[in-house]
């Protein structure tokens, strides 16, 4: 951890109890021993397939989900096991489902002012309205929208309300949990641009969770690739896209659709199946070795350490 890190998490673990097909109790390791730092003012992208623990990691950092073990540092302070109240306003979240994240029986004004009421007390009514209108303006909505209900807005507008709600408490760090996945393409770019503009103006630090690599590539400074609760590769945007080291990252990149069918047909598809529970976990080997086309005998025996293969480029693979 160094002084430029706003968020530093150390050996973070979170597992959920579950049942397998036969009804035996098992644990789903959603976040499995993750160590990660996010620098002040940067946007860290987090990619991975569904169920890889991206969302759980984001929510555990905000302690909306309590971690099983590990430490979370915010601006140098350990926030595990303390009262989160003073930190709530510094860390915010934008949700994937814009309509589900807004209370259907609340007007936009109250949705946005909820956070202000919870954190900044003693505001007069007029100060409050001024603050709400300013926020609406910042996210590109009209001040008259404040008196409408969430269902009267389109998905993109609802997402803007969600962003305004997060901004209301003047946060430093925002977890964007797939903020554009539920939107159509034209809204996606609008929201991405809005998030970038806001970062430029207000100096936010983002953790941008997505399964859409092209979106992440566009907005992120650094990218972490998650697979079964572990960060398997972490590096700058160029490292991940131009010099991917982990076989899983390569497989993910090969799955990006290409608009040209001729190129698309010639491409090698590295991923064939994600169906089975990887055998590697049980034997203590690399969790990806069952699906990895480069796997060796070593991969099945020992789990790879996260090594720095180039400056700032980390990869958890024996072969990298």
């Amino acid at each position: 951890m160094d002084s430029t890190d706003l968020i530093y998490i150390e050996n973070l673990k979170k597992a959920f109890p579950s049942k397998d097909v036969r009804g035996n109790k098992t644990l789903v390791r959603a976040v499995d021993d993750v160590t990660l730092s996010i620098k002040r003012g940067e946007c860290l992208g987090l990619v991975g397939e569904s169920g890889s623990g991206k969302t759980t990691l984001g929510r555990t950092i905000l302690r909306l989900v309590e971690p099983d073990s590990g430490k979370i540092y915010f601006d140098g302070t350990d926030i595990t096991g303390i009262n989160m109240k003073p930190y709530r306003s510094k860390m915010q979240i934008i949700f994937q489902n814009p309509s589900g994240s807004l209370d259907p029986r609340m007007r936009v004004f109250n949705i946005i002012s909820e956070g202000i009421k919870a954190t900044r007390r003693g505001m007069t009514k007029s100060e409050m309205s001024a603050a709400v209108f300013k926020l609406l303006d910042a996210v590109g909505l009209n001040s008259t929208d404040a008196y409408r209900y969430p269902h009267e807005f389109s998905g993109g507008q609802q997402q803007r309300i969600g962003i305004a709600r997060a901004l209301a408490v003047n946060p430093e760090f925002i977890v964007c949990d797939e903020p554009v996945s539920a939107l159509d393409v034209s809204y996606q770019s609008q929201i991405i641009n809005l998030l970038e503009d806001l970062q430029e103006q207000l100096g936010f630090t983002y953790l941008f969770i997505s399964h859409d690599l092209s979106v992440v590539m566009h907005i992120s400074d650094r990218i972490g690739v998650m697979y079964l609760g572990k960060i398997v590769e972490l590096g700058s945007c160029e490292d991940i896209f131009l010099r991917p080291a982990h076989p899983y990252t390569k497989a993910l990149l090969s799955a990006i659709p290409v608009p040209d069918p001729k190129i698309s047909r010639q491409r090698e598809h590295k991923v064939t199946s994600f169906d089975d529970t990887p055998a590697g976990i049980k034997n203590g080997g690399c969790s990806y070795c069952a699906l990895c086309s480069y796997a060796t005998a070593e991969c099945a025996k020992a789990a790879p350490e996260n090594r720095e293969i180039a400056t700032g480029h980390f990869c958890a693979c024996h072969l990298a």
């Binding site: 929510r59 909306l64 009262n83 306003s89 209370d103 029986r105 609340m106 002012s113 409050m128 408490v169």
Partner: protein, 298 residues
């Protein structure tokens, strides 16, 4: 996220700022003519039953064997029954019993069912499982059999009649509250409120209660209709109140014997039940439209 004392004192000011959700709903409800008419009809029936001693001087037990099966007259506005008792006074006092039993039963079941349902929904896990299985067991007993068992063991009377109906009405309220609380607590807007540092108390006041209240209100108005019917049915099969206490269900069953010759004796209480049930159902529909911001038109 424990809420502190300071927060409680500021809640009042916060609530004043919140939009007139209820006011708004009332405004929409008043625009719905069917709901307004239903409300007026139902309130009129209730007021008449409550004001029974002011409307009629007849005692509902006074018999007069030389004036049986009479039609409407100035003396007896709704005629007399097979024992020569004044139908109007029997209707009004009978309505008192029917409505009182139905509403008290609903009040008990909402209160008991609501508390059990909310506790079950919030706690979850094993406690929830045990509570819900007990509720399933209660729901499996047919209402009429439950009423028979309660009244034959504890005796006939208004109180026991109410308890029997209240027990029968508890399971649906428990289920409604439990599922509502569970779905609201797991929604993303609750998570967003937690992320904003909103206290648990405030989450309950500003998110859970408004979202639970609407389905509960709608359900109460629909269940009220059901309770009146249930009460009438139990009275009709003769396990309601002991005679000579009037009650709409038993009045229908007395009049049923002379339905061809003197239809008014059975049909008047039927009409009263029908008016109550229909108006409560329309009121319930109106409430549903008014309380859901996504349905109500602007």
């Amino acid at each position: 996220m424990k809420h502190d004392v300071k927060e409680k004192s500021s809640d009042k000011a916060d609530l004043q700022l919140s939009p007139g959700l209820w006011k708004e709903s009332l405004r929409v409800l008043l625009k719905n003519p069917l709901a307004v008419i239903s409300f007026i009809v139902f309130i009129t029936i209730c007021v008449m039953c409550i004001a029974a001693p002011l409307i009629t001087d007849w005692d509902y037990t006074t018999m007069s064997m030389d004036r049986i099966h009479e039609g409407p007259s100035a003396e007896h506005p709704l005629g007399t029954d097979m024992l020569g008792r004044d139908m109007l006074s029997r209707m009004l006092y009978g309505g008192r019993a029917t409505l009182r039993i139905s509403f008290t039963a609903i009040f008990y079941s909402v209160f008991i069912g609501g508390v059990i349902g909310i506790v079950s929904g919030f706690i979850g896990g094993t406690v929830d499982m045990i509570i819900m299985r007990i509720i399933d067991a209660i729901a499996a007993i047919p209402t009429i059999i439950l009423a028979i068992v309660v009244e034959y063991t504890l005796g006939f009377g208004v109180g026991n009649f109410m308890y029997a109906m209240a027990i029968a009405l508890v399971p649906p309220f428990v289920r409604l509250l439990r599922t509502s609380v569970m779905s609201i607590m797991s929604s993303e807007y609750i998570e967003a409120a937690r992320a904003l540092g909103v206290s648990k108390f405030h989450i309950i006041v500003s998110h859970v209660i408004p979202n639970v209240a609407a389905p509960v209100l709608i359900y109460i108005s629909n269940t009220a209709a059901e309770a009146i019917l249930m009460c009438t049915i139990i009275g009709y099969i003769g396990i309601g109140l002991a005679p000579p206490e009037p009650e709409w269900g038993s009045m229908v069953s007395y009049g049923y014997n002379a339905l061809r010759a003197y239809p008014h004796i059975a049909l008047i209480p039927c009409l009263a039940v029908m008016l109550c049930v229909i108006s409560l159902n329309f009121l319930g529909n109106g409430l549903r439209d008014a309380l859901d911001p996504s349905i109500r038109d602007k």
